[in-house]
């Protein structure tokens, strides 16, 4: 009798461990990913806003020809890029959303911050190299790898911003 109950207890423990690995761990990851992911996103947006303020007034335009009053002495191409991924929690939400269709809100801030970060890096590199403005700015998005439907796998997105940086001979003629 005693022997049987002991083995029964063991079975129970094994079952609990299995239960933990099958459901508890993903749930724990989900909760952790939600909090850490949100924190990282908030911090990133704060940093983007701060750096954008610093670059306020620096001309970055998407015209493919320069305004007539820009007298240019030299130019070069500048780029800025970032690879960014969604946190586990938001990926799962997006996956669920994919079932019913409609707007996937969790992806929107991801792409927005990637785009703004890429633009910032491009602009910062142009300014560091002593250029006065960037024109013909283009943005490109490419998916880095497959994000499996269950939310696993690398859901990396690369955002690339590039444009032609110019130095003014004399600002506005």
């Amino acid at each position: 009798m005693a022997l049987r109950s002991e083995s029964h207890d063991m079975e129970g423990t094994v079952e609990n461990v299995n239960l933990f690995f099958n459901y508890g761990l993903p749930l724990l990851l989900l909760v952790a990913a939600y909090f850490i992911g949100s924190f990282i996103e908030k911090r990133h947006f704060a940093s983007i806003r701060k750096r954008e303020d610093k670059l306020h007034g620096y001309p970055v335009v998407s015209f493919d020809t320069m305004p007539d009053d820009w007298q240019v002495s030299s130019s070069d191409m500048v780029t800025g890029s970032i690879v960014i991924s969604l946190d586990y929690f938001k990926r799962v939400i997006a996956g669920l959303r994919g079932l019913i269709g409609g707007r996937i809100k969790t992806y929107e801030p991801l792409l927005e911050r990637a785009r703004r970060e890429a633009l910032l890096r491009m602009t910062e590199s142009a300014r560091e190299q002593g250029y006065d403005a960037v024109f013909n700015v283009r943005l490109e998005t490419s998916r880095l790898a497959n994000a499996a439907r269950d939310g696993k796998g690398t859901a990396g997105v690369e955002m690339l911003a590039f444009g032609t940086a110019v130095k003014f001979a004399s600002r506005f003629g």
């Binding site: 990851l29 952790a32 990913a33 850490i36 992911g37 990282i40 996103e41 990133h44 493919d64 020809t65 320069m66 820009w70 007298q71 240019v72 002495s73 030299s74 130019s75 070069d76 191409m77 500048v78 780029t79 890029s81 970032i82 690879v83 960014i84 991924s85 969604l86 946190d87 586990y88 938001k90 991801l110 970060e117 590199s125 024109f135 013909n136 283009r138 490109e140 490419s142 998916r143 880095l144 790898a145 497959n146 690398t154 859901a155 990396g156 690369e158 690339l160 590039f162 444009g163 032609t164 110019v166 001979a169």
Partner: protein, 111 residues
């Protein structure tokens, strides 16, 4: 972008600002196929849980793109060009672990 070949000017516009194109040499291309580093991939996999920038990949793609651009510039140089205009980039993921970075433009002589 750090392009070591400073004698060649590159631009994604149809001409080099402030200069005139005197001769066209045709399309020049440069590509590179890169695979991910195992260590970086593990780190990226961990980072993938909490989201945010995958710095290893950003660097990897940046380096690769510079290499592709350098190759394009080398080709332009060998043709006798001193500038590459209308530069475009393309990325394609070939397999799960590898990506092709591709740069192309038109080699020209500007004066």
């Amino acid at each position: 972008m750090d392009v070591s070949n400073s004698s060649i000017v590159i631009s994604n516009t149809e001409s080099i600002p402030g200069r005139n194109i005197v001769e066209f040499y045709g399309v020049v291309t440069g590509n590179t196929v890169r695979a991910k580093h195992v260590g970086r991939d593990i780190m990226a996999g961990l980072k993938n849980i909490v989201g945010g920038e995958l710095r290893g990949y950003t660097e990897l793609l940046q380096d690769s793109r510079n290499e592709a651009t350098d190759r394009m510039v080398e080709q332009a140089k060998s043709m006798g060009a001193n500038a590459v205009v209308n530069v475009r980039f393309a990325t394609s993921s070939i397999s799960q672990g590898a990506a092709e970075l591709f740069a192309y433009g038109t080699a020209v002589r500007v004066a």
